[in-house]
């Protein structure tokens, strides 16, 4: 089993209805493929963890490249894992503003009950999530964050 973690940028602004639709379809398909993981959306930036058998995950990542709704796919890590971090989630989802991400409290909210991040141990997925929250891997920065 592996996980693949990548970041990308939307091509056109997603409405929440469009995000919901994307997720619904993704979850059905992921269940078929035994893919679990989580998707984070923040101000046009995506951060996604895909977990599963190498064939399924690599196949999905290939397909994601064909999806015109996002671009600049950047693979951050692809490596073997001993267990799923998001075992209960065909695709956990969270949409947060950059301000929420920047605040430590905002990140703590992820780890509240009912969120896919509860019980996430201190492995690569959690560390990279924290990194994304700090603004790394977000190709598109909010105007207030530009140096």
């Amino acid at each position: 089993m592996i996980h693949l973690i990548y970041a990308s940028v939307e091509t056109q602004a997603f409405s929440s209805a469009q995000l919901t639709e994307l997720l619904q379809k993704a979850r059905v398909k992921n269940e078929d493929l035994h893919i679990t993981g989580m998707l984070l959306y923040s101000d046009g930036n995506f951060f996604q963890v895909l977990e599963g058998e190498p064939d399924s995950v690599d196949g999905m990542y290939k397909k994601l490249h064909l999806d015109k709704r996002h671009q600049q796919l950047t693979m951050i890590v692809r490596e073997p894992i001993a267990k799923r971090y998001f075992a209960d989630w065909s695709m956990g989802f969270s949409s947060v503003t950059p301000e929420e991400l920047r605040q430590v409290d905002g990140l703590n909210d992820f780890f509240r009950d009912g969120s896919c991040f509860v019980g996430l141990d201190n492995g690569r997925a959690k560390k990279l999530l924290a990194t994304f929250a700090e603004g790394r891997w977000r190709a598109r920065l909010a105007s207030t964050e530009r140096p």
Partner: protein
């Protein structure tokens, strides 16, 4: 065949271990203990290793890890255990890591608590080969650290095809860092790359408050060195957390 038997039967020098903690100075918790080979009278590692014939080294390496697990468990280890691995044993012996995992099972140490340390210099020659072999075991939960990071000529290149769980900054980079621009620039770059990739950075061989303060200000929070604790002979030594000025 008989050669193998002779090797197995040859007497090994008497050895045991000292344990040195890797501490998180923010949470003030011990992340791990590294098992360091010592003679039964606390002789330094090199005096033991020089008694081991080259052709027996990988077997010795394997045996040492099993013994270290046994001793750490008898001492009641409650955190990770860093064990050294000669990458050459990985290439020459199919049991190099299996025997470590078996020992872990026998002593009820979860596999996920084991961190295998390999030095940068030993793996750059054949990074792809090393990565493919070690990745099989990472899939079972073993963690990997690259020791002496920044000592060789490869440095950050190493992270292109393989992202370990930890890197240990070479002491040479740490020594006098508070007053040395090039060292600071290099450590900053390593730290940034590791952060971006979710790799823990451990500063090794930290000996002075000034070195510690510079690194802590940079955001490094994992340390191993005399300033915090000396290796404890067959024991887990007391830890001292320095105060920043």
């Amino acid at each position: 065949m008989s050669l193998g038997m002779e090797l197995h039967n040859a007497p090994d020098p008497n050895f045991t271990f000292a344990f040195q903690p890797i501490v998180d100075t923010e949470s003030r918790e011990v992340l791990s203990y590294e098992a360091l080979i010592r003679g039964s009278g606390n002789q330094p590692a090199y005096q033991i290793l020089e008694q081991v014939p080259a052709e027996r080294m990988h077997l010795f390496d394997e045996k040492a890890r099993m013994e270290a697990i046994g001793l750490a468990m008898r001492l009641g280890i409650g955190c990770d255990l860093n064990l050294n691995l000669l990458p050459s044993s990985l290439y020459s012996s199919p049991t190099a890591i299996l025997s470590t995992m078996e020992a872990a099972n026998r002593y009820h140490l979860p596999i996920t608590r084991i961190v295998l340390e390999v030095t940068e210099g030993e793996i750059i020659a054949d990074m792809t080969h090393f990565a493919s072999l070690i990745n099989e075991y990472r899939g079972l939960g073993l963690k990997v650290a690259i020791d002496d990071f920044g000592a060789g000529y490869s440095g950050l290149n190493l992270l292109v095809n393989f992202q370990p769980d930890q890197i240990k900054l070479d002491m040479f980079l740490v020594r006098g860092i508070e007053a040395h621009g090039p060292r600071q620039a290099i450590v900053r770059a390593i730290d940034q790359a590791c952060r971006d990739l979710g790799i823990d950075v451990i500063a090794e061989g930290v000996e002075t408050i000034a070195e510690y303060e510079w690194l802590a200000n940079q955001g490094v929070r994992l340390f191993q060195g005399y300033l915090f604790a000396k290796p404890g002979f067959e024991s887990f030594p007391p830890i001292h957390y320095p105060e920043c000025s």
